[in-house]
């Protein structure tokens, strides 16, 4: 009897051993839906991060889908079929509009309270001030920012040195500089007029300098349209009008198709460009030998509430999806990703500013990064209007702003149109 029992036990062990071993050795898979295309210059670094993580964690496999900007389109069928990927990355405003606002993402506050990878500080404390807070959902953190951008006036440092120009601090200094540059025969400002959300940078930032963060968002959401009566908006519109009227934009900019404006700028055909800090990454293959990326924040407006250290943030961010099966492993991967060596490599090799403290500043964005380190406040990209009221943004604000910057509307007409169209939009 005993012999028979031992034999049966042995037989069972032999039978089930392969299954047991394979179950033990089989890695779990974390699906990562990336907003990058495989051909983009940063992707080899991301692939290296994945490979390093898999080597350090043989029980976890990262299955990356390089979906590019179609990421949110491609995730829809996955969400509907219940095959939910663990991680997605994209702009914070898009992730918020598409996923966070629809309760599809996972609150990461508990994980942020845990230790960062290879560190004795909490993950939360590794982020620069204001970075995690910018896209918070109430008191919860769903968005993990990594590659961050702000908007600055870029100029060629070498050209400015040669001509004896200096970066202006106030609006009056800025106007005086534009006049001086124009007198010297160079258009002061390049602009990709074909991109309406680049054109609105002027009005949006002037509003911030005059009325502070949130003013544009509040006015956009005002169903009566009467918020636009605030004289600060008219003042901001007049500033845009002044630039257009004085002929400070490069000739024909309204017909520029991206990236003609920024290429003109790096080729020295205009002195400055108001654009996000992704400019160096996009133009580094086009710059001539005597070019040095320098930038300054949108100047101060006398009597205004906004400071030059109030930063607008565009955050390329990660989210962990709520219904994904491997959330813990996903968080483990994100903590691994946000460690210093990869942050530094991204900053140095790809001109990126990173949301994590202690990351080296990219030389081509050194001016913006210095301001980032001492930011007094942060605000969402476009003051959050495009993520909070996307249709209003497309239908009301951007078309009116195009007409203002192209000189087709006066500042007064622009405000009147905003008021009228806002009322019509919200009461339709």
């Amino acid at each position: 009897m005993k012999k028979r029992l031992i034999l049966t036990a042995l037989l069972l062990i032999v039978l089930f051993m392969p299954w047991f071993l394979s179950a033990q050795g089989k890695p779990v898979t974390v699906q990562y839906f990336s907003g990058w295309n495989e051909g983009e210059p940063y992707v080899p670094l991301f692939q290296k991060i994945i490979a390093d993580f898999e080597a350090a964690n043989p029980n976890i496999k990262i299955n990356a889908s390089w979906n590019g900007r179609e990421n949110l389109t491609k995730v829809r069928p996955m969400l509907l079929s219940g095959n939910v990927p663990e991680i997605m990355d994209q702009g914070g405003d898009e992730l918020t509009g598409a996923l966070v606002n629809q309760n599809l993402t996972f609150a990461l506050d508990k994980d942020l309270a845990g230790l960062a990878f290879g560190s004795k500080t909490t993950w939360k404390d590794t982020f620069k001030p204001g970075q995690l807070e910018t896209y918070m959902k109430g008191s919860q953190t769903h968005i993990i920012p990594w590659w961050i951008d702000t908007t600055d006036f870029f100029y060629n440092g070498k050209l400015f040195s040669r001509k004896g120009f200096s970066a202006p601090k106030t609006w009056d200094d800025f106007l005086a500089l534009c006049a001086k540059i124009k007198t010297g025969g160079l258009p002061p400002l390049a602009q990709d007029g074909g991109i309406n959300f680049y054109n609105v940078y002027y009005f949006r930032h002037f509003v911030q300098r005059i009325l502070g963060n949130g003013a544009l968002l509040n006015a956009a959401g005002d169903k009566t349209g009467s918020s636009w009566d605030n004289p600060g908006f008219l003042k901001a519109a007049k500033m845009v009008e002044q630039l257009a009227k004085n002929g400070y934009f490069i000739k024909g900019f309204e017909g520029y198709t991206f990236p003609a404006g920024q290429i003109d700028f790096v080729k020295g055909m205009a002195a400055m460009i108001l654009i996000s800090t992704w400019l160096p990454a996009e133009t580094k293959d086009s710059i001539p030998a005597d070019f040095e990326y320098r930038s300054f924040p949108v100047p101060l407006v006398a009597g205004g509430k906004g400071k030059t250290t109030d930063l607008e943030l565009f955050q390329w961010s990660f989210v962990v999806l709520k219904d994904a099966p491997r959330k813990a492993e996903a968080v483990q991967f994100l903590k691994f990703w946000t460690q210093k060596k990869y942050n530094d490599e991204m900053a140095l090799n790809h001109d990126a500013m990173i949301a994590i403290k202690g990351t080296v500043n990219p030389p081509s964005n050194a001016d913006a990064a210095r301001v980032m380190d001492v930011a007094t406040s942060t605000s969402r990209f476009n003051d959050g209007v495009n993520s909070a009221y996307p249709e209003y943004w497309q239908a009301v604000l951007l078309p009116a702003d195009d007409n203002l910057i192209f000189g087709k509307l006066t500042a007064e007409q622009f405000i009147a149109q905003l008021k009228k169209d806002s009322k019509a939009f919200w009461n339709k």
């Binding site: 509009g97 017909g255 990236p259």
Partner: protein
């Protein structure tokens, strides 16, 4: 038809019918259902709102603008494309030296991908180093050479001109194929009667080509309403509102595209509206473009 034949038709038609039902009618019916809901496309939560999306489309100023722009493309682009195509058909008709070569040249845009054509036209219209402005400069037309062809005032017409350029080759080839089938004896007889080229074109080529022209018109209407790739690519994937077509508007509403709108229900209503409109125009077109008999 005998009973046996009737019985055998059903199993032969069934697979095709099943495929049609599953891959066309069912999705179409499903899209009609989606258009009656408020739905982002990210979750299964669809909120039934009846005809509200359609009511909204009737009040949506952007949709009205886009619709007008699409109708403009159908009408103005259609007239230009067909007049030019018929002109080239007349010019290259009959036995002419180098006909095959010109036919190949004029058809070339149709074998090039739309993205490549869009890049080409982007260069042509570039305000600084563009082919068009440089040509105008060479011709001494200084004032015209500073025109921002892709600016808000002209971009619609600039792109329309490019679209006409692309499609003229296709319709010329189509019409030439039809014209080649007209018996040469008609032209010989007309010549004996002293008819000139223009008269022969309007009394022989045009009426005998009418079936091909009307089919081409239907095809153009569908094609013009569905324009997407060229418009999207020529603007560096940031199409300004001045050149939005209905499909571009649908994509922006449904898939965000830099602005997180994600209104799948409303976008489907607009797309459904487009489907109904195209079907209506095509049906009316087929009815009114029917040819009577031609007698000589």
């Amino acid at each position: 038809m005998n009973k046996w034949l009737k019985r055998i038709i059903i199993p032969f038609l069934a697979p095709a019918l099943a495929l049609y039902l599953v891959f066309f009618l069912y999705p179409a019916a499903q899209s009609l259902w989606v258009s009656l809901n408020d739905w982002s496309g990210f979750t299964r939560d669809m909120r039934f709102i009846g005809l509200k999306n359609f009511q909204e489309a009737f009040k949506d100023r952007i949709f009205h603008r886009v619709l007008l722009q699409s109708v403009g493309l159908v009408a103005v682009g259609g007239v230009l494309t067909f007049v030019l195509s018929l002109f080239f058909t007349g010019l290259l008709g009959g036995k002419r030296k180098g006909k095959a070569f010109f036919r190949a040249v004029i058809f070339t845009p149709n074998v090039i991908t739309m993205v490549a054509l869009a890049t080409l036209w982007g260069f042509i219209y570039n305000p600084r180093f563009g082919l068009l402005n440089n040509l105008l400069r060479l011709l001494g037309l200084k004032s015209l050479s500073d025109v921002p062809w892709m600016g808000p005032d002209l971009v619609y017409w600039s792109i329309l001109a490019a679209v006409v350029w692309i499609y003229v080759g296709f319709y010329t080839i189509l019409f030439m194929a039809g014209a080649d089938k007209i018996p040469l004896a008609f032209y010989d007889a007309a010549k004996l009667e002293g008819a000139g080229s223009l008269r022969m074109f309007f009394t022989i080529t045009f009426p005998l080509l009418w079936d091909v022209i009307s089919m081409g018109l239907i095809y153009w209407i569908i094609d013009a309403f569905m324009q997407f790739e060229f418009y999207y690519a020529v603007s560096g994937s940031f199409p300004p509102i001045q050149i939005w077509t209905i499909p571009i508007y649908v994509v922006i509403l449904a898939f965000g595209k830099r602005t997180p709108i994600f209104r799948m229900g409303y976008a489907t209503a607009v797309a459904f509206f487009l489907l109904v409109m195209v079907a209506l125009v095509v049906t009316l077109g087929r009815r009114f473009l029917r040819r009577g008999s031609v007698e000589y």
